[in-house]
Amino acid sequence: MTTSQSSHTLLKPNRPVGITGYGAYVPRYRIPAREIARVWAGGKGGLPIKEKAVPGLDEDVITMSIEAARNAMARAQIDPQELRAVWVGSESHPYAVKPTSTVVAEAIGAVPHIQAGDWEFACKAGTEAIVAAIGFVGSGMAEYALAIGMDTAQGKPGDALEYTAAAGGAAFVLGPAENGLATINATYSYVTDTPDFWRREYQKYPEHGVRFTGEPAYFQHILSSSRTLMEELGVSAKDYRWAVFHQPNAKFPQRAAQMLGFTPEQTAPGLLSPVIGNTYSGASIIGLTAILDIAEPGDRILLASFGSGAGSDAMDITVTEKIDARRDLAVKTQEYIARRTEIDYATYARYRGKITMK
């Protein structure tokens, strides 16, 4: 069977879709990377980030998703009963069996006439949910859909991932473009089977294939999704005002940006991993919320997520004039980042359930 590849490379709905509302969440506690190095590396060695966000004892992906969803709904200015889907992407859903999304939907008053479901694809579960929501709205089946990417990621004590595995994320209301504070022009996803990072059932901490994490996984997928999207749209880095990439540390997204031709000025507002860590399903999209907090009408944004296993969703977004009236309707991402209480490793170990009580 022969098909024209370019005819269905980009994902574009028949009915234009936009971002009606967006909301971030970052918990208030921070553990500096140097504090983790003090415990596990004698304080020596380079640090991948400055510090990471840690959830409080009463927080999990459900509670954090509820707050991000409330922020997104405050900006969207729609009745929660107009939502036809509540979808939450995460690799740290509180239950093995029992959806996160139903609790979130109940808490924001969106039940019962909705689709609800939890998405999993390592760190790109959130953008996977967004792309599905674009299809749901773009087909006309739904007027509005809520897609969330949120995580409370854990790294094995002493492992390289412990320095960066953090908590946070973002929620987006997708709706018709004419009511959007930003329009999603197109998306493109690039997916292969790559064994770079995984966690088996009943295991508390993930494993990673050290030699696989960089080139064949992160860079191959993010560069392929971004390049294909830009080529198909006939644009290049200079056509964008801002860009944001999945950020497992500070270095990877900056190198990917440089390889794609973006300047540090284009990526600075969305580069949050140095101060909140890798928020997994939330990482690229919380960067997008920080960009939307400062963006001007007409600004064009490139976003590319990455999920181990592996895949990348790239999105081409244009901000509309509706941004100005909506961005102040909820707490801004940098305000969450500024609300900060530093904790030591012992408090961190208690908050993250690393101390065995029985």
Partner: protein, 137 residues
């Protein structure tokens, strides 16, 4: 196991949904279907804003079963902007001292496990120091 009770209370617990009296407009929380002021029937649901202030508080060091993993924590009497007074935990205090009259706002958090870590997780309202929004300066 109290699963049915948790299920029945979920709206008021997750989102501070109470009632408003159709006769005298008094806001009621928790919902009780009868107006405490005029005695009339009051079954109209009302979603509270979640804004209020600390009326009184105490810190718990010896917690009842189910809450012992989060000690020490602070319990407050919160006077909601719409009138009712409710009891709830304060959260996200950081190093911030609690004061009478402190503005607070509702957040939905984990309250406890029903039984042990095999049981359902009970979610509900707590209050944290209110954000000062630029738009509300």
């Amino acid at each position: 196991m109290e699963i049915s009770r948790h299920w029945r209370l979920k709206q008021q617990r997750y989102a501070l949904v109470g009632e408003v009296c159709p006769h005298c407009d008094v806001k009621i929380f928790p919902p009780r279907d009868v107006c405490p002021v005029c005695g009339g029937e009051a079954k109209t649901t009302f979603a509270f804003s979640g804004k209020g202030e600390v009326f009184s508080y105490t810190t718990i060091y010896e917690a009842p079963t189910g809450y012992d993993q989060t000690v020490p924590y602070t319990i407050a009497l919160v006077k909601l902007d719409e009138g009712p007074m409710i009891t709830a935990q304060l959260t996200d205090l950081g190093e911030q001292p609690v004061e009478i009259g402190m503005p607070v706002e509702m957040v939905t958090r984990k309250l406890r496990n029903d039984g042990d870590e095999r049981g359902v997780i009970v979610y509900g309202y707590k209050f944290r120091p209110a954000w000062k929004m630029p738009s509300q300066a």
